[in-house]
Subunit: 317 residues, 2 copies
């Protein structure tokens, strides 16, 4: 390598003064709710402060080529993992990337696009926590872990309504992907600072149509917001914190966000969480949260987003 | 930025053990002969040891979009210069890139491709020496500087025969590009270690059809091969070295490679230059050099390529 370059790199010569963004990963299997969760984070922060990328764009092969390959898009060998690592490092150090683009509608790889990291970079996808180097790029890591039957229902709904597949095709694809989900997607759960599970509360006999609750596992790998004052409020039923052991036996806090309580009660908690963020907001700042993308609103989603927003804003300091 | 990443980057954690390649830039205006020159370098080194890229792939806009823009593809604003700088740094430090691809036939930006740097990386294009940071990435820098009337003839020939333009279209395009050639392309000449000019020898009255000579300006910015023994051979007429002042008044050596001498005489010099390279080669190792791309062979081109090969092989040590 030429000495001039060594010298320029050593002296931290960048192409521009690089401000280092807050990086958050939202990992999870197909249709686990990654986009729904992350969209609601950009809006309250101000979209002009947020860059959002999807690392599924790092597919090596297009849909046609994959037909002749012995693995699915979930397999690391089907993705430019090394380039994903490189690009995440560049973004984490405040530098722009020319990101590949996979067109989900046509299944083709198309013209890449420039991404310049803003104050916050939200990275969602199937494999953002796959390697040691990608994980090191994030300030906050999240894994979405809905029960399989709920994820399947979501995937069928989305892929039949928006991607033109039949139910049978989606089910066959889920079957085909299962071994790779088990091998490469689900292991990422153990590297997440927060594991989010939207599901009905086990053991309760809620009527059909009751909104989903959320169970947010808070690993002590980062400092979580202190919820004690909110939790101890008289009559507060929207959230509950429980000390537990995670699957791996390690101690965690589990925040239960109850979907079955009246929305007004949840809103009280949301406003308290919001007021801590130091963000500007209109008359009802939390109304942009909890958007399920289908016109419905989930209070459990809104509270989960507020916990993540707390982390993002805190990491900025 | 997360502490884990700072630590991993400080410890030189790369995604793979990176071997740093020899980087050579071949800059010059459209149809100056960049591809012809660089093709002949890859073949004698062994194509499996060489990566070749063209930095014109970093166009921001496709041909259609450029129609509505007040500048041509030569303008830095028409190119992702910052990403080009980033990618050249990555290659120079032995790391792969996902390079954008501009399809010259259709004028469209298409799916990017993976480039992993091999032992030698040859970078040709309009603007590889545009910025301080790009220049720092190269071990050897070359600028192709044919007389304008020769370059125009080459461009008309290529663009009418291979890109489907009419002569009038090519002439109009040359006109349109001239201010940007002057502002952005030609200034790169002053940053090149070697300036190569294929032209008839001034002052000689050679018959039409006499092969072009080459004038290779050797700036003392890198150590050039010691040609004294070859130059002093009895009866040697193929090359001649002259001390001169360059356009900027600084001292340079100018190697004159005479196209008008019989090819056999030139071949003697070529074999001597070849024998110094320590490369393997068949019965006539220099026969892969000097290929003009149109079925013709230029001895002046062959000698120029041997000088460049000398630099590349030496930089490897």
């Amino acid at each position: 390598m030429p000495h001039k370059l060594i010298r320029m790199q050593r002296d931290g010569h960048q192409t521009r003064p690089s401000k280092r963004p807050v990086m958050i990963a939202i990992a999870g299997d197909s249709a686990a709710g990654k986009t729904t969760l992350s969209k609601g984070l950009a809006s309250p922060l101000g979209p002009e402060r947020v860059s959002r990328i999807c690392v599924d764009d790092y597919h090596k092969y297009d849909r046609e080529e994959r037909k002749h390959l012995p693995f699915t898009a979930l397999h690391p060998d089907c993705n430019y993992i090394e380039i994903m690592e490189q690009h995440l490092q560049l973004l984490a150090t405040g530098q722009p990337i020319l990101k590949p683009v996979y067109d989900h509608d046509t299944g083709r790889l198309v013209r890449p696009e420039l991404v310049e990291p803003r104050e916050f970079v939200i990275v969602e996808g199937l494999l953002p926590l796959h390697s040691r180097l990608t994980r090191a790029c994030f300030d906050i890591t999240v894994y979405l872990d809905p029960p399989e039957e709920i994820r399947r229902a979501w995937k069928i709904q989305r892929d039949t309504q928006r991607r033109g597949y039949s139910v049978e095709q989606v089910l066959a694809e889920l079957e085909r992907r299962e071994p790779e989900s088990a091998a490469f997607i689900r292991p990422q759960r153990s590297f997440a600072d927060l594991v989010v599970r939207f599901a009905p509360v086990e053991g309760r006999d809620d009527p059909p149509g009751t909104p989903l609750s959320a169970e947010v596992t808070l690993r002590p790998t980062i400092r979580h917001p202190d919820l004690r004052r909110i939790l101890s409020e008289n009559g507060q039923r929207a959230i509950h914190l429980r000390l537990a052991r995670d699957e791996d036996g390690l101690p965690v806090d589990v925040l239960h966000v109850h979907g079955y309580v009246p929305p007004e009660e949840s809103r009280v908690v949301q406003k308290k969480l919001w007021s801590r963020l130091g963000l500007n907001g209109g008359a009802d700042p939390v109304k942009s949260l909890g958007d399920m993308g289908n016109g419905e609103r989930s209070e459990a989603l809104a509270i989960t987003q507020l916990i993540l927003l707390h982390h993002m804003v805190t990491a900025l300091d």
